[in-house]
Amino acid sequence: MVRQCFILFGCMALGELVTKLTGVKLPSSIIGMLLLTLLLKLKVIKLEWVRGLTDFLIANLGFFFVPPGVALMLHFNLIKAELVPIVGATVVSTALVLLVTGQTHQVVAKGEKKITHKIKDKIADKHNHHD
């Protein structure tokens, strides 16, 4: 547990350090996450050194949003005054992001597969001709 906390908070601290030093406009947590992936990939950290704590945190990810969500009560007046644009735009845009991202991925992935198949076929054809 101590080692797990050390690695996780270490990545977080390095993330904070990177954002402070470089002034990059990304949150320290995202940098910490990429750092953890990199350290696992480079085998500096073994998966079993962090797995227990990370599984616990990921399984309860939603819970950590409860207190920030309660902050909604601070903006009730503003949200009430502009309820239609806020909720309308959020719903419309969230649905569009879901559909466009997913469809683009499916279409591009299919297209890419077709192209690589064609190239493979051509290479195979050439080989056949040579034979």
Partner: protein, 230 residues
């Protein structure tokens, strides 16, 4: 005396854990996605605080111990990302293309719709970065002249919409590929969507954490420029 108990740090923490656990059990029992425990826990706690006249700041004094874990939890998403790394490398073109499109559509559609519905400039600026994780969203909002704390609230609303309705919307929109589903829900509704995806399937969840990351990066880089055009 009663007020002292109600504002006690341990009481407020126990209340938060207890209400969330209760909502989770209720969802498991009914099997309804609409009974999202995050949404209901937020609603019940707001009701409780309002009824007992406890200001948000008093609640937050205790609850910030829970918020604190939000950042380490985002770092933890590096593990599923690592586990899918070789798969992701194979699909790098569709992944980058879909995230780029999703990010642009997210910014443009929310700004245009909000303006059409008559939102004020400050609210439009607060909405632009709604799809991404809170720290990025708040920073972008600040840069655009929005209200960062309103943005934080809108980010939660966006997450809840994606968490509650995301999979339904995708099945209506014929998105069936598990990688595509993960990328979409992570891009559209950040860590809340990702948590719902993780509960369904670890593979979809790993792609969701990738979607959350890439859309976060693209949004931080692109929003100021895109909003200036609109």
């Amino acid at each position: 005396m009663i007020k002292g108990i109600l504002t006690n740090q341990y009481f407020l923490l126990a209340l938060t854990f207890g209400i969330y656990q209760g909502c989770k059990m209720l969802q498991r029992k009914t099997g309804s996605i609409l009974l999202n425990p995050i949404l209901f826990a937020i609603g019940l706690i707001i009701l409780f605080l309002t009824a007992c006249h406890i200001p948000y700041d008093t609640y937050h004094e205790s609850a910030k111990l829970i918020d604190f874990w939000l950042k380490p939890a985002v770092v933890a998403l590096g593990v599923p990302l690592y586990l899918q790394l070789s798969q992701i490398k194979k699909e790098i073109v569709p992944i980058l293309a879909s995230q780029m499109m999703g990010c642009m559509v997210g910014i443009v559609s929310v700004v245009v719709t909000a303006r059409l519905l008559g939102a004020s400039d400050a609210v439009v600026a607060s909405l632009a970065s709604k799809s991404v994780t809170t720290p990025i969203a708040m920073e972008v909002s600040q840069a655009l002249g929005g209200i960062p704390s309103l943005t934080a609230a809108i980010v939660v609303i966006t997450g809840l919409i994606g968490g509650v309705a995301g999979f339904k919307i995708m099945s209506v929109g014929h998105i069936h590929n598990p990688a595509a589903k993960g990328l979409s829900i992570g891009a559209a509704s950040h860590a809340v969507g990702t948590s719902v995806a993780m509960e369904r399937d670890e593979f979809v969840g790993a792609y969701a954490s990738l979607g959350l990351t890439l859309n976060g990066i693209f949004t931080a880089l692109l929003t100021p420029t895109v909003v200036a055009w609109l």
